[in-house]
């Protein structure tokens, strides 16, 4: 690990004034520092800010999650389990118990890709780690790589689960910065790799995520997160689906769908939602929606299986959400 200075911030204003690499749970940061993928020179520990940014608030306006809430605490919170099950499940099905006790929600959405070429600097080609160097995954080991939102420069998968719940439910992100606070749609936080895969978010230098807010969505009680992995527990998604349904009998009034494990960023499947809106939900319409969701998929050999796995995952998630007793 390379040398760095370590400081503790005592409030949000002090943290953004100090700038540097923020440390909360540290579960991504320490890992990538040991691998020499991240090389911060100044670490600002923000764990003392949990009074300011560590609350879970639920009420008529919806749900507000402080960025320093730990994954485990949100996953077991009764209001979230009951009213936003897709949020609770996306957290519960991620990582291990120890990691969920450590990791915070703000850090969770900013976790880096698991692409092996990104994580191992002995590979010279990685446009995300070394802009302009190329992408070793295009012709390399790419079984777990993305099929949606890719570019000729990067096919690294966005690894997170929680983000799929946030993007499906139109969450907003509250951000603190030296120029003041701002709020953006969660859908605008992450950016697709495009020509410059090293830029992963729209955060400006020194900005700090302070909270996520979800609107009141009564039908979110009919929601779930389905995650398909190589192992039954403690693994990243090969494919996943965050689904929330507003049903009028068997007819879909509104559907919210996001896909994980298959895309370069948190992925809202609006084409699938459009297919379902106003129509009955059954195996055929779910399959048509799933085909729409993956119509633009591009595969690279070892991940040729992903569109089909993703479609089946989405169909199963939709039918399971329909069958929920709420």
């Amino acid at each position: 690990m390379r040398p760095f200075t370590y400081q503790r911030a005592h409030d949000g204003a002090g943290a953004v004034k100090a700038g540097g690499q923020y440390l909360a749970g540290g579960t991504t940061l320490l890992d990538l520092m040991k691998l020499d993928v991240m090389q911060p020179v100044r670490i600002v520990d923000i764990n003392d800010l949990s009074q300011e940014f560590g609350a879970i608030e639920y009420g008529v306006q919806g749900l507000r999650l402080g960025a320093l809430v730990h994954m485990a605490d949100a996953a077991r919170h009764p209001d979230i389990v009951k009213n936003y099950p897709v949020v609770a499940q996306s957290l519960q099905l991620a990582a291990s118990a120890q990691l969920r006790n450590m990791a915070t929600l703000g850090g969770n959405v900013l976790q880096r890709t698991r692409c092996t070429y990104f994580r191992d600097p002995s590979w010279s080609r990685c446009n995300k780690r070394a802009p302009g160097s190329g992408c070793a995954a295009l012709e390399g080991v790419n079984r777990k790589h993305a099929v949606l939102g890719t570019s000729p420069h990067c096919i690294a998968t966005y690894a997170g689960d929680f983000a799929q719940a946030l993007i499906a439910l139109d969450a907003q992100v509250e951000i603190a910065g030296s120029d003041g606070a701002r709020r953006i749609a969660f859908a605008d936080l992450h950016v697709a790799p495009g020509d410059n895969p090293s830029i992963e978010t729209s955060l400006r230098p020194g900005e700090l995520i302070t909270a996520f807010s979800l609107p009141a969505i009564p039908f979110a009680r009919r929601s779930l997160y389905l995650k398909i992995r190589d192992r039954q527990s403690y693994d990243f998604a090969l494919a996943s689906a965050a689904v929330a349904l507003d049903l009028d009998g068997a007819t879909v009034r509104e559907a919210r769908i996001a896909l994980g494990g298959v895309a370069t960023k948190p992925w809202r499947a609006r084409e699938a939602e459009d297919h379902l809106r106003g129509n009955p939900l059954n195996r055929d319409t779910a399959a048509a929606a799933a085909r729409a969701a993956f119509a633009a998929a591009i595969t690279h050999g070892q991940n040729d299986f992903k569109p089909e796995l993703g479609r089946r995952t989405l169909v199963r998630a939709l039918l399971a959400a329909k069958a929920l007793e709420v």
Partner: protein, 184 residues
């Protein structure tokens, strides 16, 4: 503004450097105090030192094991503020609150914690390398209320790998201990 109020209102408080050195030097060791197994321990550490290395290399508490050193195997699991966490992904300087390691689990009289005794009773290990992490994680698992069924235990213990595959006996040990811990 006096020097005192200036310092008092300072938004950032670097931990005390051990030696006078330029403000931004990367080489300043930090003076930190850890509470480990009910004892306060003063240490002078490179900021890069993880809690795992502080325990093993500086406090000679080698019960906590280094497996992968990347948060994937669970061998380094300890309790911080009573909650199970990975000491390999925790900077020693960032620790807030008391740390309990496998050495601190037994009573002052040396009597084994029920979870330690259950691992012996159920033969819940072979080589033993993952065992301290398994036991610390198992204590956390029961305290979090996730030891109600074998399936629950397997899910909530999935962050602790055992390459000898003693998993069925580990589950049995946790099943044995859960009612005793819940009663106590």
């Amino acid at each position: 503004m006096t020097r005192r109020t200036l310092l008092g209102s300072s938004v950032l408080a670097p931990l005390a450097p051990a030696a006078a050195a330029p403000h931004d030097s990367h080489d300043i060791p930090l003076n930190i105090t850890l509470e480990v197994n009910r004892k306060s321990r003063a240490l002078t550490l490179d900021p890069r030192t993880t809690l795992l290395d502080a325990l093993r290399e500086h406090l000679n508490l080698t019960g906590t094991k280094k497996g992968c050193d990347h948060g994937q195997c669970g061998a380094c699991t300890v309790l911080i503020n009573g909650t199970r966490m990975l000491s390999c992904l925790t900077l020693a300087a960032s620790v807030r609150g008391p740390v309990t390691t496998i050495e601190g689990l037994a009573g002052e009289d040396g009597r084994l914690h029920p979870m330690q005794q259950a691992f012996i009773d159920q033969d819940a290990f072979q080589c033993g390398y993952c065992t301290p992490g398994q036991i610390m994680s198992a204590v956390g698992c029961v305290q979090e209320g996730h030891a109600g069924s074998d399936a629950d235990i397997r899910e909530y213990m999935s962050g602790n790998l055992c390459r000898c595959a003693a998993y069925p006996h580990i589950v049995a040990a946790i099943r044995q201990t859960a009612p005793m811990m819940e009663k106590a």
